[in-house]
Amino acid sequence: MLHGKDKLVTLDNAGVFRSRRWLVKGVTMSVGAGEIITLIGPNGSGKSTTAMIALGLLNTDEGTTYRKENLRVGYVPQKLSIDWTLPLTVNRFISLTKNISNKDIDFALSLTDTSHLQKKELRTLSGGELQRVLVARAIAVSPELLVLDEPVQGVDFNGEAKLYGLIEETKKRLNCGILLISHDLHMVMSATDQVICLNGHICCSGTPEVVTSSSEFKNLFGNKAASTIAIYQHNHNHEHSLDGSIKSKAIIEDERNHDLNHSKDKSHA
């Protein structure tokens, strides 16, 4: 598996040592075209650190990393703060690192339901809106490798389902590799090829089914993880569309069934 030239990024036994401790150690993983790799783990488990190694933002103190030459990357950072002093509209932000045609900007914004924000200033957006714009920008660069650091932060449940759907669609359309960092277990499980469970090192990894049934996973997340789906169902007796209006139950049921069917398909495959 390692050093395969078809892989976009490969980490081999990578470790980062900062402030007298290992942030992560012994991480071996790779992302290839058309793959979705999901990193999960508790706070401070080194998910973002691992992503930063993969992106070349952090140098490793141990192990090696390989990145395809001139890899086109789209990156959605965990957070972005914009000062008042910086006049930056959504439109301008999309072509931050690369010239992007108006047509492509419109397309990326429409995918993330943010077309109406086009002329707005970035700092006036709400958390969820900003998150979707960040995703739109990363998709618009038509990346070979898309790295998303907790992209569903501040996005409500319904928007979350949509965003994951969009990420999957992007993978199919661009055939890009996707590295996704998540704290949300259920939603990730249904779309991902390989889950890597981190806690300073790799606790366990494999297909979603293998990981959820492993004892390391249960130790790390407890029983809550196994019942994540149930928790969502109990807590949400209604849902909102992106504009805040309440969605009808039929639509919600429909989406749920779709999700469930989808994960069933995965397990058969």
Binding site: L57, V73, W84, T85, L86, P87, L96, T97
Partner: protein, 270 residues
């Protein structure tokens, strides 16, 4: 009616405003106001060194600012001291050190006020050439690295992850800052350079909807302030450098008036 020296001052001042506008925008976007202040204060040390070794003052100031900029970068990487402590320390030590070195050189008579607060009315044709050539070089470089520099300003992580090499552009930016300080010292002096960089840029903010527009408006505001300041200093017999800065301040106050007004309007309507 306008004397020759006055025309020279105008041309030199506007040449300076041409570069301080866009560069000042980056300084406030990147929250480097205090950093710029430290660099410009260290320019006085550069002046002292120039007089001591009898080398060109502009060149010595450029080199000193450059050295201070890179030592700051290195020291900040160590992260032992909070960066405002570090900057404050360096800024004032550089001024003090410069003054002490100047005092030791009893054989040279210097116009200290000129270095501290500018001496725009005494600029020569050579000064103008240096300002315009240096300024145009800075503008051309800035135009070339605009995208990566701006991307790194918004998010260094995104810029680096997406292959724009922000470390490299940051170094070029530091060099440009040192150059601008060296060429604008004559106009407003080491104490007021930062003001000429950040106030027109801050005033431009209210009227801009894109970064490029803000840089352009900052140039225009800077030039207006230079004209007003110079005419004002002629009219009221005030020092030219400080008069220019007072003009930028007036522009800034005018720029925020519509905002204040609209806030009050909103409150009334609720």
């Amino acid at each position: 009616m306008l004397d020759d020296f006055f025309i020279r001052a105008l041309i030199g001042g506007i040449g300076t405003a041409l570069v301080t506008g866009p560069l000042g925008c980056f300084i406030i976007w990147r929250r480097l106001a205090y950093f710029g202040d430290t660099l410009s204060h260290s320019a006085l040390l550069g002046v002292a060194i120039a007089l001591l070794f009898e080398i060109n003052i502009t060149f010595a100031v450029f080199i000193t600012s450059l050295i201070v900029a890179f030592s700051l970068l290195l020291l900040q990487r160590g992260r032992n001291l909070p960066s405002d402590t570090l900057l404050g320390m360096l800024a004032h030590s550089a001024i003090a050190l410069g003054l002490v070195v100047l005092a030791f050189m009893t054989w040279v008579r210097v116009d200290l006020l000129g270095f501290l607060f500018g001496d725009i009315l005494s600029i020569t044709k050579t000064d103008i050439a240096v300002i315009w050539l240096g300024g145009l070089a800075v503008l051309a470089t800035l135009a070339r690295i605009w995208r990566p520099l701006f991307a790194a300003t918004v998010s260094a992580e995104i810029a680096k992850a997406e292959g724009l090499k922000p470390d490299y552009t940051n170094i070029i930016f530091m060099v440009m800052m040192a150059l601008v300080i060296a060429i604008s010292m004559k106009i407003v002096g080491v104490m007021l350079i930062t003001a000429l960089l950040i106030i027109p840029a801050a005033a431009a903010r209210s009227f801009s909807s894109s970064p490029e527009q803000m840089a352009l408006i900052a140039i225009i505001f800077g030039s207006i302030a230079v004209c007003f300041g110079l005419f004002g200093s002629l009219e009221f017999d005030t020092p030219a450098g400080p008069s220019i800065i007072v003009s930028t301040l007036l522009l800034f106050i005018i720029s925020i008036l519509p905002n204040l007004f609209s806030i009050r309007k909103k409150k009334n309507s609720i």
